[in-house]
């Protein structure tokens, strides 16, 4: 919904953390994707590391790190 590709590239300053990524995501959504009902995504999404574990807002991002955006879940 945020990209026509599997991966969305977001550039952030060095030593950024997940909170900064969350803000960047919010900006992208406000500028381009408000019509897609995604206005709460930056607030409600969790982020997974490459090891598929939830990472918190103070997690420091590494160079070229791949992070998964996990919207609220609803399986079962």
């Amino acid at each position: 919904m945020l990209s026509d590709k599997e991966i969305l590239h977001i550039e952030l300053p060095n030593n950024s953390n997940i909170e900064k990524l969350r803000r960047a995501l919010n900006k992208i959504i406000s500028e381009k994707y408000l019509k897609n009902n995604l206005q709460n995504l930056s607030k409600t999404a969790a982020f997974f590391s490459e090891a598929d574990e939830v990472i918190t807002d103070n997690y420091k991002l590494k160079d070229k790190e791949l992070i998964s955006i996990i919207p609220p879940i609803g399986g079962g």
């Binding site: 969790a46 997974f48 939830v54 918190t56 998964s68 879940i73 609803g74 079962g76």
Partner: protein
């Protein structure tokens, strides 16, 4: 092997209760509990024709295995567990999830089955889009995995 978990691409394969029953069958067990979840034809007053399930495949398998291992540790370390969840377009009446548990006693079998289902709903990255008779479709609001203390 006492544990089987899978995310089943429903366009290629069906979830089979026969396969599940065979997997959990053991002479050491006196109880089998099987939960079958199916797509129903209505939700919140709207007529549903199908549900599309999407998933973070790798994280789903990791989550399934972790939940099942926890269930075994909590209730019966020797239980046999079969767990499959659908991925893709699932029409009304078809199976979306199947949990089968073989255990020594009924109490543990029931508890494990229930525990796995509830934990999947709260931990596993699977998303659900409903399709309605009038041709519309909608992703359902779900449960956020963001740590609660961070949500202001």
């Amino acid at each position: 092997m006492t544990l089987h978990t899978a995310l089943v691409k429903i366009e290629e394969e069906k979830i089979s209760s026969e396969k599940a029953k065979k997997f959990i069958l053991s002479e050491k067990n006196g109880a089998e509990s099987i939960f079958v979840g199916r797509v129903r034809n209505a939700n919140s007053g709207r007529k549903v024709t199908a549900v599309t399930y999407d998933a973070h495949d790798q994280a789903v398998i990791k989550s399934f295995q972790s939940i099942c291992s926890d269930a075994k540790s909590k209730f019966d370390k020797d239980a046999n567990i079969f767990l499959e969840h659908a991925k893709g377009h699932v029409p009304v009446g078809e199976i979306s999830i199947l949990i089968a548990v073989g255990s020594r006693h009924r109490e543990e079998a029931f508890k494990i089955c229930r525990y796995i289902l509830e934990e999947i709903k709260h931990q596993t990255p699977i998303w659900k889009k409903e399709h309605y008779v009038e041709g519309k479709e909608e992703w359902l609001p779900g449960h956020s995995l963001r740590p609660k203390e961070e949500i202001k």
